[in-house]
């Protein structure tokens, strides 16, 4: 039996919605098959008022062991570092976050707001938001760089806007069934199982990427979304084309460029006008190249791909 507590800071509930849509395993499976005891969750918890405060205080005091503390949303520090803009159960939420993180065996941040600060932390960041251990790409989060939960792990970051349902439930199960220590984390503390490969892995437009056939509008069936529409699939770590959304599809499969929502630069770096859904180029070469490829390599690669292109690559594949 593992006790799980889920709280929300500066959040839109997107990750909760996502979590409730999980299927492999589902939120119910967590309880029935994996022995997870959901102490409280904003959409599922029944306790209110004094009862809720008692429940939380019991966790903080150690009367109720807290195995997994899940946090969704940013840590709100406004105004002036007090956190008063986001009060919960009688005090600023950030105080609960500090106290509960201190006693939890594992701390899991779900979604971009909890991991990097997300959209709320985008300049000018009026809510003074932070992620649990990161602020964008840097270790500038609320709990501090050195934070380790009782299991000795830093915050386990499951980014995404929102995170995919199955990334959430599968990691929770891994942690609850005692495999938490085996979760390999990358330098941004994301589980490697999900975040070592790129969004591009498994994208059905890969052939169009290789042979440089560009889609010029959303929803087009033919063409890669990288050359014109700013798809961030080649530099975004996510399994969106391996673990499909609603078990059916992904952004790129349906003709929508990947926005890079599992990377701290989401949404589109500084959101400067003209940079959204547009591939920025310098002398005809995309400014952001696929991860690990430099300009010279990219040109050479293109030449080689073109030279090797089979005749059918130039034909229209989708003749309705």
């Amino acid at each position: 039996m593992a006790n799980l507590l889920w709280l929300q800071g500066g959040a839109c509930s997107g990750n909760t919605m996502s979590f409730l849509n999980a299927e492999e395993p589902s939120a119910c499976d967590l309880v029935t098959d994996f022995g997870i005891n959901v102490l409280w969750h904003p959409s599922l918890g029944v306790e209110l008022g004094d009862n809720l405060q008692r429940l939380l205080n019991d966790c903080v005091s150690g009367n109720t062991p807290l195995d997994i503390f899940v946090f969704e949303g940013s840590v709100v520090n406004a105004p002036n570092g007090t956190g008063e803009w986001n009060r919960f159960a009688g005090k600023p939420m950030k105080q609960w976050v500090k106290a509960l993180s201190g006693v939890a065996t594992f701390v899991v941040a779900i979604g971009d707001c909890a991991t990097w600060g997300g959209i709320p932390a985008t300049a000018p960041n009026p809510s003074e938001s932070q992620g649990l251990q990161f602020l964008k790409r840097n270790h500038g989060g609320f709990l501090g760089k050195e934070f380790r939960s009782k299991a000795g792990l830093p915050v386990i970051n499951i980014p995404g806007c929102p995170a995919h349902p199955d990334w959430i439930t599968q990691i929770v199960v891994a942690v609850a069934t005692g495999r938490g220590g085996e979760i390999g984390l990358d330098e941004l503390q994301r589980p490697k199982t999900f975040f070592q490969s790129f969004t591009q892995t498994g994208c059905t437009r890969n052939m169009h990427f290789a042979y440089k056939v560009s889609a010029t509008e959303f929803g087009q069936r033919k063409g890669c979304l990288y050359y014109d529409l700013g798809c961030r699939g080649p530099m975004t770590h996510s399994p969106c084309n391996r673990i499909l959304w609603n078990r059916q599809s992904s952004k790129t499969r349906s003709g929508m460029p990947c926005l890079g929502c599992t990377e701290p630069e989401f949404p589109f770096f500084d959101l400067a006008p003209g940079t959204v859904f547009k591939t920025q180029t310098v002398m005809g070469i995309p400014k952001d190249l696929p991860t690990g490829v430099d300009k010279k390599g990219y040109i050479a690669l293109t030449g080689a791909a073109k030279n090797a292109a089979p005749a059918w690559a130039e034909q229209d594949m989708f003749i309705v």
Binding site: K212, S214, Y227, G274, T281, G284, G303, K306, N307
Partner: protein, 104 residues
């Protein structure tokens, strides 16, 4: 086999470039707005004005710049047809040529 007509057109373009046709290789369009402006100029041309197409496109019959950019690498180049598939150009080209609408 490529249609003979395309071969003839390729020969004609090659001849124009060899005989020193001055084309507008600069400025290279840095942003998609500048790129679209050149495309607009091309769209405004009468269909049969091949020479003007080459001038505004900025064609050269050699690779260009420090990176030796060529049609071969350009995303509009169709290898098997030796063809520039950019709708506003749509002409046969050699892999070692270049124009300022080059993009990869």
């Amino acid at each position: 086999m490529r249609p003979e007509e395309e071969d003839r057109l390729l020969g004609k373009i090659a001849h124009l470039l060899e005989s020193g046709l001055k084309t507008q290789v600069e400025p290279f369009p840095e942003t998609h707005i500048e790129f679209a402006k050149i495309l607009d100029e091309l769209r405004a041309l009468p269909q049969e004005d091949l020479r003007a197409k080459l001038v505004i496109g900025g064609f050269t019959n050699t690779p260009y710049g420090p990176d030796q950019m060529r049609c071969l690498e350009c995303m509009y180049y169709l290898v098997h047809r030796k063809w520039c598939d950019l709708p506003e150009l749509a002409v046969p080209v050699e892999p070692d040529w270049w124009c300022r609408l080059w993009r990869i």
